[in-house]
């Protein structure tokens, strides 16, 4: 502290550098099986045990009826519901630009899944395009352990 001195950006008004950083002990709690599932090449969603509403994301209780849900495997292929190519981003993602965000729709699921699309030229991305899930071989236990690529690519 103080060894490097204080960076001063201006004196009237006095503007100084102020750093802030923190580490968290973060629990995925009831959503944990989803993240473990990614490391096994599975995409786990939730199906309501009461009304059978089917989510493409983890959710332990149904938004529609409040009943508990059960895990179910979401198909590993779907279609692009919508997309964007980001040329800017939050600071943490600036170095990854341009990147493509997609919402994926699946046969048999009532809701969508947000992910990245890789392995395709941005001009070729279309709503309705078939895509398949790809999984990281070195899981970081983050939602980015899964991404999508065009389904016709091997």
């Amino acid at each position: 502290m103080g060894e490097k001195g204080t960076i001063v950006y201006g004196v009237d008004p006095l503007i100084v550098h102020d750093h802030y950083e923190i580490d968290y002990r973060h629990s995925y709690a009831e959503d944990s099986p989803f993240f473990v599932g990614l490391s096994k090449g599975k995409l786990l969603g939730s199906r309501c045990t009461g009304c059978r509403y089917t989510y493409a994301t983890p959710r332990s209780h149904c938004m529609e009826c409040g009943a508990p849900t059960a895990w179910h495997e979401v198909p590993l292929s779907g279609r692009i519901h919508t997309f964007t190519i980001c040329h800017y981003g939050g600071e943490a993602f600036l170095k990854e630009t341009p990147f493509t965000l997609i919402l994926v729709e699946f046969e048999g699921a009532d809701t969508l899944f947000l992910s990245r699309l890789k392995g395709v030229k941005s001009e070729a991305v279309r709503i309705g395009m078939p895509v398949r899930a790809c999984f990281s071989k070195t899981p970081a236990f983050k939602v980015t352990d899964v991404w999508f690529e065009p389904a016709d690519r091997e």
């Binding site: 201006g10 008004p13 503007i15 102020d18 802030y20 995925y28 959503d31 989510y55 493409a56 994301t57 959710r59 938004m63 529609e64 519901h81 919508t82 997309f83 964007t84 190519i85 980001c86 040329h87 800017y88 981003g89 939050g90 600071e91 943490a92 993602f93 600036l94 990854e96 990147f99 965000l101 997609i102 919402l103 009532d110 809701t111 969508l112 899944f113 947000l114 992910s115 990245r116 941005s122 709503i127 983050k142 939602v143 980015t144």
Partner: protein, 427 residues
């Protein structure tokens, strides 16, 4: 519930940065302006306050509203902080309304601020994206402009909305702001310039997206008795409504449209709603506010709208949520010229110019978006508009509509997670 009136308001100039004033000083500036405008009202008539600011990350000061409260000299009167993302200001306004409507207070100050200049724009974008699910959405590339871009891609797919229609919103709001000295980014633009500005997230360019700002705004709300005593031209708040939706866009249903009184189920026989193209929370907010205000056809019964145009696309989406046109017609609504101001030259031909001006002030796109102040800023502009005092406060008469009767203000959070609609009426 008792009738509630807005009796005064004030705002600071919205700017990229106000390093010479901290948030307390900015609030004080807007507060002093507010009190000066009602000389028959005095500080001892204030029963309490509600403060609003969005982000503890930007402020790096928890309980910052307490510091504004003491700076204004309002201790030990009741006070609290309201936070609800982009809708923070609108929620604060409604919280002050509740305090007076319930009879708990006879007058309540709503103050809001944000100081976004303390980090660079892209760090700021990261902070804002923390208002998306941090397990499932943020890590994928947390970026609100990206989320809104995905929503409007779907809107374009469903309804044929075009990027030129979106650009028209940008042209309108930036030109309106030329006559609003409080705005941050007034300028004359063309559709071509909007489209040629740097691409941020397809199809949204820099000129489709609002900027970050420092600023503060204050509204003074009062009971009928206090309003009659203290204010020459109070404005009545005749309706409030709010709504919500799932945090993760991906989780939103694809079901049936929530209908307004002037709509029928057959209007939307094939539309899956809200999906990611529409804001169910905005529709709910509008429905409740119209119900309270007794409005059956908003297009016929409103004189103007100040809505949360963080993006040109979300202004178009919001026309539809508010029932100013049917779902799917938002693009054509702006193309016809319906939401443009009378008497202003926008450099394009507009067959229905001035039917229902939307964002006469310039909106978020041109005024700036100091989040906690934004919803209150809209209330202040709506108040001056309905009072007929725009000329006095802005120094020119261009944005003053002729005898406006009712104005709607709309405040919007996240990807539509909290939305408020409040309706004000001239008396």
């Amino acid at each position: 519930m008792r009738p509630v009136y807005m009796i005064s308001g004030g705002i600071t100039k919205f700017a990229k940065a106000h390093p010479d004033k901290d948030f307390r000083f900015m609030v004080k500036e807007a507060y002093d302006y507010t009190l000066r405008d009602v000389p028959r009202f005095s500080k001892d008539m204030i029963d309490g306050a509600v403060g609003s600011y969005f982000s503890d990350h930007f402020t790096r000061q928890l309980k910052a509203a307490s510091m504004a409260q003491d700076y204004l000299g309002l201790c030990p009167k009741p006070s609290k902080r309201i936070e609800g993302g982009g809708a923070t200001g609108g929620l604060c306004f409604q919280s002050a309304w509740e305090a007076v409507a319930s009879g708990r207070m006879n007058s309540c100050v709503a103050f809001g601020f944000e100081t976004m200049s303390r980090v660079n724009t892209w760090k700021g974008n990261e902070f804002i994206a923390l208002a998306s699910d941090t397990n499932f959405d943020f890590p994928v590339g947390g970026f609100y402009s990206g989320y809104y871009a995905m929503m409007v891609q779907r809107h374009m797919h469903e309804f044929g909305t075009t990027v030129e229609q979106m650009a028209m919103v940008s042209v309108k709001n930036h030109i309106n702001a030329l006559y609003n000295p409080y705005s941050q980014k007034a300028k004359r633009l063309t559709i071509k310039q909007v489209r040629e500005s740097p691409m941020v997230a397809t199809p949204l360019t820099m000129e489709d997206i609002c900027t970050m700002s420092d600023g503060a705004a204050v509204c003074l709300l009062a009971s009928e008795e206090v309003a009659a005593k203290a204010c020459e031209r109070p404005v009545k708040i005749i309706g409030v409504g709010s709504g919500s939706d799932a945090m993760r866009m991906a989780d939103r249903p694809h079901g049936k449209v929530i209908l307004l009184p002037h709509e029928q189920e057959s209007d939307y026989a094939h539309l899956k709603y809200p999906g990611v193209h529409s804001f169910r929370g905005g529709r709910m907010a509008a429905k409740l506010a119209y119900q309270m205000a007794g409005i059956h056809n908003p297009m016929e019964e409103l004189s103007f709208v100040e809505l949360h145009d963080a993006y040109t696309s979300s202004e178009i989406q919001t026309y539809e949520d508010l029932g100013l046109c049917k779902y799917g017609e938002g693009g054509r609504f702006v193309e016809r010229g319906t939401p443009f101001m009378p008497g202003i030259d926008y450099g394009m031909s507009l067959p229905k110019q001035e039917r229902l001006p939307v964002n006469p002030s310039g909106g978020l796109l041109a005024c700036g978006h100091p989040v906690g102040a934004t919803g209150l800023m809209q209330a202040v502009f709506a108040f001056w508009q309905l009072q007929g005092t725009m000329s006095k406060h802005l120094g020119n008469p261009t944005l003053q509509l002729k005898n406006p009767r009712r104005g709607l203000i709309h405040s919007h959070a996240g990807t539509g997670t909290y939305i408020t609609v409040s309706i004000l009426e001239a008396i």
